[in-house]
Symmetry: C2
Subunit: 168 residues, 2 copies
Amino acid sequence: MTTENPGAAPAKASGDVDLLTAFAVFTEASIVAQLTSTLLESRLPKGMVTAQFGVLNHLSSRPAGGTPLQLASAFQVPKTSMTHSLAALERKRLVEALPNPDDGRSKIVRITPAGARFRGEVIEALAPVVAHTLSALDPGTLDRLLPLLRHLRIVLDAARNCRAERLE
Amino acid sequence: MTTENPGAAPAKASGDVDLLTAFAVFTEASIVAQLTSTLLESRLPKGMVTAQFGVLNHLSSRPAGGTPLQLASAFQVPKTSMTHSLAALERKRLVEALPNPDDGRSKIVRITPAGARFRGEVIEALAPVVAHTLSALDPGTLDRLLPLLRHLRIVLDAARNCRAERLE
DNA sequence: ACTATATAATACGATATCGAATTAGATGAG
DNA sequence: CTCATCTAATTCGATATCGTATTATATAGT
């Protein structure tokens, strides 16, 4: 059936700090990401993918923009991937890059008026679909999920930085 | 900072069933998936990616195996992506494909002894890393997250099937 | 049994992802 | 000031992802 649990934990030893629960959480997060990405892309013009729209959405609430490195860090993707996503958004004129006055190597990426408009249209088209989909959720699910997910994300992120430092 | 909230909701209208919270949850799920995938791949031999290991891990608790379509459905990825992942695992002799006695078009994919051994080694190498990383989590975070994530995943999945049917 | 339709898997092509190497500009030590 | 080092971004090459079209087999209607 479609409601199976991939990689589910068969049992849980008492001492070991449930690695298996952790794995199950990781797998579920990845499936949720997969499903929501597909859902979003079904309302996106062909040629635009979730990674690109995510950046656009992020920039829409930060009119001052940010550097590519800041954006890569916000989404925790490699900076070469961000270069690629930004190039695609720039080709579509949805964002624009200005020289960074503080650092000649860098640049500042900002959303354009066309980008903001586009983002608004997609959000609007998406609203009823998402609302309908999520209407089947137990009330409060998202509000309970969000802080927990954020907490996990922050801890994972901190550990990643820590590991990176250890390799100095 | 590295603890920003990409695509965060600026405010929340009372009537509209917080599309913005939903977006934030989706984004966080995607970042968690990204971070855990990177973490896993840091302990995987080069040439193996998270998608492949996920399938291997899934099969390790299902000795009878499954069809490619069942596996694609378990992870909610397109079946052509699963074909690719399975081909990679087969090349490495970590899984094997047998003809499906019930259906000549299909086949049954099973983990091999080498695959089970390999999976065990990776899990063992990963255990201390994950344990250390997650030691910074508030206790109970994962146990509270798992049922909520599953619930969300199941609802998203059901909606997806529903949409697919509408297009018949 | 025969044809139409449906389904499992794959082949193919376009694009996305990402690690390693590169380029250009910044920063710090002397 | 100059050189060494560091850092932001990009280029390049390898691989992954996934939509469309294709192939092979199954199933249903007559």
